[in-house]
């Protein structure tokens, strides 16, 4: 188990739930290959457990590997990206701490885009389908991925979830990652952009405390701005911290509750969706 956040990848489930099917749940281990014993281990007399080098005089040799630890995820992400580009879909990976208001913002976004853009959603949480149910209540198709002990979505989970979602050319795919400002930063899902959501109640220092996420993102939404009159928080300082970590980061102040900033956010979404629809097969720019 991860000593940082307690994650583990086994036991992730994907709940494809759409109109043509009754509720069903697919349960599978996400990384079955990780624990397969070497095919010929038995032939060489290796003990099944606790194998160690002690007392073993077999000659050793060196094997060069030179592979990035994220190589497999990156390959799966590239496959997702090709698929989304071919489908002309604008895909975003929404990342934040738990409680930043991601799901409320998503719900409000989908409601405002009704009749303008087709939207499909992939929801990532450790447990429950509550978020996917909230999305489905808006009429948008949503697939829930439960990561079990896992603290982030990976590209393979998203690839499997894509299979059950209707993807319309010129439409949006919004992937709501597990609430976590650390782990999802490293895992490319095949999105066009990571969008980081920071709620104003979280204070000014989050971009400096969790710089990897703010560096990985192309857009920051400062959510819950309707609460600013009640808070002792310097929002310009939060923005300056984010800009220090990532000078190219675009920022929009929004409130899912009051609707502040939503027009600018929706215009950004529509421009991205239009670009993705106009460039079939050529792909949408990967995050730097």
């Amino acid at each position: 188990m991860c000593t940082t956040c307690g994650c583990g990848n086994e036991g992730a489930t994907i709940d494809h739930h759409h109109a043509s099917h009754p509720y069903r749940r697919l349960r599978r281990a996400v990384m079955p290959a990780a624990h397969v014993a070497a095919p010929d281990a038995g032939d060489r007399g290796i003990r099944a457990e606790g194998a160690s080098a002690s007392g073993d005089a077999a000659p050793s040799r060196r094997v060069r590997i030179e592979q990035d630890l994220l190589a497999r995820n990156d390959a799966a992400a590239a496959s997702n990206r090709r698929r989304l580009a071919a489908a002309g879909v604008f895909a975003l990976n929404l990342v934040s701490s738990p409680g930043s208001g991601k799901t409320s913002l998503l719900v409000r976004t989908i409601e405002r885009l009704a009749g303008r853009l087709p939207v499909a959603v992939i929801e990532g949480d450790q447990q429950t389908s509550r978020d996917a149910e909230r999305i489905r209540a808006t009429g948008a198709p949503a697939t829930q991925i439960n990561t079990g002990k896992g603290c982030h979505l990976d590209a393979r989970m998203v690839g499997e979830a894509l299979a059950g979602l209707p993807l319309a050319r010129g439409g949006l795919l919004l992937v709501e990652n597990v609430g976590n400002l650390v782990c999802p930063a490293a895992f490319d899902l095949g999105e066009a952009h990571k969008v980081v959501i920071l709620s104003v109640t979280e204070g000014e220092d989050k971009p400096l405390k969790y710089p990897d996420m703010f560096r990985a993102a192309d857009l920051m939404l400062l959510n819950k701005c309707d609460l600013l009159p009640y808070l002792d928080v310097d929002i310009a300082l939060a923005e300056a911290h984010a800009r220090r970590v990532n000078p190219a980061l675009r920022m929009i102040r929004v409130s899912a509750t009051s609707g502040e900033g939503m027009d600018e956010w929706l215009a950004w979404l529509e421009a991205g969706a239009q670009a993705a629809a106009d460039a079939p097969g050529r792909g949408v720019a990967a995050p730097a």
């Binding site: 188990m1 991860c2 000593t3 940082t4 956040c5 994650c7 583990g8 990848n9 990384m31 290959a33 990780a34 624990h35 397969v36 014993a37 070497a38 095919p39 010929d40 281990a41 032939d43 060489r44 290796i46 099944a48 457990e49 606790g50 194998a51 160690s52 080098a53 073993d56 077999a58 000659p59 050793s60 040799r61 060196r62 094997v63 060069r64 590997i65 030179e66 592979q67 990035d68 630890l69 994220l70 190589a71 497999r72 995820n73 896992g150 603290c151 982030h152 990976d154 650390v182 782990c183 930063a185 490293a186 895992f187 710089p211 990897d212 560096r215 220090r244 970590v245 990532n246 000078p247």
Partner: protein, 113 residues
Amino acid sequence: MHELSLAENAIAIIEDAARRECFARVRIVRVELGALSCVEPEALRFAFASASLGSCAEGARLEILAVAGEGLCEACGARAPMETVYDLCPRCGIRPLKVLCGAEMRIRDLDVE
């Protein structure tokens, strides 16, 4: 960061190599880990021991080769050591340095039998 996911990826890469290169057991795994990679070496060590159980790398020693952070200032051209990914250029102080090295997290090689 989720060192367990990375450890599981490492085991998958090693298992692929075991099939390709026909070895049954790994003695040493050498991993390059950059100071700016946001991987905690001790957490990776712990996760690797857990993820390797039942694989050909069970019991293998994980050697972590630290790679120092170094960056380039795109404004003035200075090169400087980096402690964090958002270190400003120590010469002109205008922009964060661009990471040249220190972001590595890769398996370099294995000692196998």
